[in-house]
């Protein structure tokens, strides 16, 4: 028993009688056959232009069932109008007349042609959900969109007017050329600058602009995604200007501010090291080793501070360049800030690397020597721990080394903990800035306004209502594209060139912390 779905455009209410054309789709597993009625035409000649569309039935308005023979048509529908409601006079399925008295065997779905064409997100959202009846609406939406490209569109918006004019096409081509050159230049200096966040951000920014321009020139009008991105960029630039203005009112020389903050960091670090070299928190540390490590790290900090002082003029020049670039938006300022943070905390990173390497060496040495203590050895061939017969001098040297490493472990561990915490704080701040940048780039302001206004362009799901039900026979439903949840709509409208920042793997992080690998 096949269920028949018949999709009828509601525009037929006001139309004159004529031939209906569309597509028939059948799926054997679900026993469903769908008749998609795309539109009505007077003559028969135009139908062959449209791919896969063919005559599917006849619409007779208010007349009684007329004697129109369908000839060789196997699947066809005879539609009529009665009391402002559609009625199905006759349905042919594979040449047989369908008995419409059986309840729910024929379902007639009335759809709004305009709204389905307007919606930009329907096709995309249907890909995500895997519903059975979603397939039919997807098929309907795709057939409608291909049909629109053959007809003159009755929708005429401001954006499409601008898109079609010749001058704008030339401007777009010129802009594309310039930006391609810029992008090539950036990729050229990539090996040098690849550690700076500014360079990667600039790359993404240029790629997004290329994407915007290309989609504008392809589709000849502004899609919702592109509009969303442009609004986000404008908000970005405005807030960037505001922050720069505020910064200029606070301080006259921002580079001096940077150097002062650098000096504060260095001073705090020096005090921290002095505290560690004493008796921190009452811990029992090896005095000689502690002293040696502390002096070594202090020497490094002094080195770094001397470097900063010597390179001060160069820093001022680079800072001025950064300020210029910061006018391009808050996201640029965030990436500049991330770079500055990395620069200022370079000595913390150095000391962290030393402490981490020392700690990991000590821990791995301890594990190996503990096995020697017990008379065992790691067998790399079998990947397991076996007992091993050591000679007395090996045992002697091994035990001595084990004792030394064991008693020096608290000192190393303490330095490791302190500098790993500092490093985690710096990395956390950097991650925060990356996420702020990502949010600013994908700010869904335009989409949210459209969603509040429940505009038809961002509808992503469909809403079915029971329209009319005959006492015997077919069920009449009407379908409306509606907006989905805000979160879903925002997700569909993310710009394609911007990728979300990678997630933090907490298990990995913990393992790296314990064994002393670098973060």
């Amino acid at each position: 028993m096949e269920t028949l779905l018949i999709f009828v455009p509601c525009a037929l209410y006001n139309e004159e009688p004529g031939t209906l054309y569309g597509v028939v789709q059948e799926s054997k597993e679900e026993c469903v056959k769908a008749y998609f009625i795309i539109g009505k035409t007077e003559g028969r000649s135009r139908i062959s232009e449209v791919e896969q569309c063919r005559i599917i039935g006849y619409y007779c308005k208010e007349d009684a069932p007329c004697s129109v023979s369908f000839g060789e048509k196997l699947d066809s529908v005879l539609l009529g109008l009665c009391d402002c409601e559609f009625i199905l006079h006759k349905v042919l399925n594979g040449g047989d007349v369908v008995d419409m008295s059986k309840p729910c065997q024929t379902i007639c779905i009335i759809y709004d042609h305009q709204k389905f064409i307007l919606s930009e997100l329907l096709l995309q959202s249907m890909d995500h959900s895997g519903l059975m009846y979603g397939d039919h609406f997807k098929m309907l939406a795709s057939k409608l969109s291909t049909e629109v490209s053959f007809q003159d569109s009755s929708v005429c918006t401001f954006s499409s007017l601008i898109g079609k004019s010749l001058v704008s096409q030339q401007i777009i081509k010129l802009l594309l050329c310039i930006i391609n050159i810029l992008l090539r230049f950036i990729t050229f200096v990539h090996p040098v600058l690849k550690y700076t966040t500014l360079e990667s951000h600039l790359q993404i920014f240029l790629q997004s602009i290329i994407w915007v321009l290309q989609s504008c020139s392809c589709k000849k009008n502004l899609s919702v995604k592109v509009g969303n991105y442009i609004v986000a960029v404008i908000v970005d630039i405005c807030s960037g200007m505001l922050i720069l203005y505020w910064l200029s009112t606070i301080t006259s020389s921002p580079s001096q501010l940077l150097l002062e903050s650098g000096e504060v960091v260095v001073r705090t670090l020096r005090e921290l090291l002095q505290w560690l070299m004493g008796i921190p928190a009452g811990l029992k540390l090896n005095y000689a080793f502690n002293n040696m490590l502390g002096q070594f790290f202090l020497y490094h900090i002094n080195l770094w501070w001397t470097f900063l002082v010597v390179a001060k003029p160069l820093l001022e020049v680079t800072f001025y360049i950064f300020l210029c670039l910061g006018r391009l938006g808050l996201t640029f300022q965030a990436s500049i800030l991330a770079d500055l943070l990395a620069l200022v905390s370079l000595h913390i990173y150095c000391i962290y690397v030393y402490a981490a390497r020392l700690y990991s060496l000590q821990v791995s040495g301890l594990v190996a020597l503990w096995r020697l203590f017990l008379g065992q050895k790691h067998n790399p061939l079998r990947g397991r721990v076996d007992s091993c017969q050591y000679s007395p001098d090996q045992l002697f040297v091994g035990t001595l080394a084990f004792t030394i490493l064991l008693f020096l472990l608290p000192t190393t561990f303490m330095y490791y903990i302190v500098f790993t915490t500092l490093r985690l704080v710096v990395v956390g701040l950097g991650g925060l800035l990356t996420r702020v940048r990502y949010i600013l780039q994908c700010l869904p302001l335009y989409v949210s306004i459209l969603w509040i206004l429940q505009s038809a362009t961002i509808s992503s799901t469909v809403h079915l209502m029971v329209r009319f039900r005959e006492t015997q026979g077919s069920l009449f439903l009407s379908v409306q594209p509606v907006c989905g949840s805000l979160w879903r709509t925002v997700q569909y409208c993310m710009p394609e060139t911007v990728h979300p920042p990678p997630r933090v793997k907490w298990g990995n992080l913990l393992g790296n912390l314990v064994s002393g690998r670098l973060i």
Binding site: N286, F373, G375, Y390, L395, F396, T399, T403, I404
Partner: protein, 279 residues
């Protein structure tokens, strides 16, 4: 009453006349008790227990050396020279008198071992001395005691047993001696104590393994240990004498007295032991 025509045989297919729960009077006649009983004489028992006492004496001797060095009753140079002399004599005795091998080829290996011990000990002793500066003395003594007990448990007494791990026992003894050495006054003291430890725990057992079964050696060691403790602390001496009596006298007595309660059963159900046939 059934006629028992056939005698009962010990298999499953012939005894059809008998009921299923029949127990023959030849049941368990192949059971043998205490077949491989070995008569242990009191001397053997005491000597066996004496192995543990010997090791205990070595530990006591070592601790006495530490106490002398720590209290300053003896100069480290004296200790170094004397212990080196004793070690040299012991080595020569072992190699020439007790072992039959040609000692030319092992001389190089032995010299290399000695060199490694001395060089590493001397180089690392400054580090070892400051290793446990901030740890309290009581913790150090507790750790050393624990390590020496582990040394006693896992030592190779010449008895084949699963728990024996000669490397663990040696490592524990060296660890304990490093703990003690870090309490001494100068790096040279630490070096001397470390050398002493190596001689006591690595070299002396090799020599003593040749002297197993000798009552004189046992008696000499006990006397030396008692004398050393007498000079250090009377209480410790009495404690040591009590422990020695317990281990060397009381435990073998109990062991011998309770031998008569021994009841090992052997029978045809034991696993077959395949012996090599010497052609």
């Amino acid at each position: 009453m059934e006629q028992r025509q056939r005698t009962w045989k010990k298999n499953l297919y012939e005894n059809t006349d008998y009921p299923d729960n029949y127990t023959d009077k030849t049941f368990l006649e192949e059971l043998k008790k205490n077949v491989n009983i070995t008569e242990i004489s009191p001397l053997t028992a005491i000597l066996g227990a004496g192995l543990v006492t010997q090791e205990l004496c070595i530990i006591v001797f070592f601790v006495a050396v530490y106490v002398y060095l720590h209290s300053g009753w003896i100069e480290p140079e004296t200790v170094f020279v004397q212990s080196s002399l004793v070690a040299a004599i012991g080595y020569l005795t072992y190699r020439i008198v007790l072992t039959d091998k040609n000692y030319n080829e092992v001389l190089i290996t032995d010299l290399r071992t000695v060199l490694i011990f001395v060089v590493f000990g001397y180089v690392l002793s400054p580090v070892l001395k400051t290793l446990t500066d901030t740890i309290s003395t009581d913790t150090i003594y507790a750790m050393t005691t624990f390590m020496m007990i582990i040394h006693l448990i896992f030592f190779d007494y010449g008895v084949p047993s699963a728990i024996v791990s000669s490397s663990l026992s040696m490592n524990a003894a060296i660890f304990g001696s490093v703990c003690l050495a870090s309490r001494l006054a100068s790096p040279f003291h630490a070096f001397v104590l470390l050398t002493n430890a190596v001689e006591c725990f690595v070299l002396l057992p090799i020599l003593l393994s040749k002297g197993r079964g000798s009552v004189i050696v046992l008696a000499a060691m006990i006397t030396t240990a008692v004398y050393a403790l007498w000079t250090v602390s009377l209480i410790m001496m009495f404690l040591f004498i009590c422990v020695t009596l317990f281990v060397t006298v009381l435990c073998p007595v109990w062991f011998l007295r309770w031998q008569k309660h021994k009841e090992n059963i052997y029978g045809p159900w034991d696993e077959a032991v395949v012996h090599d046939v010497r052609m």
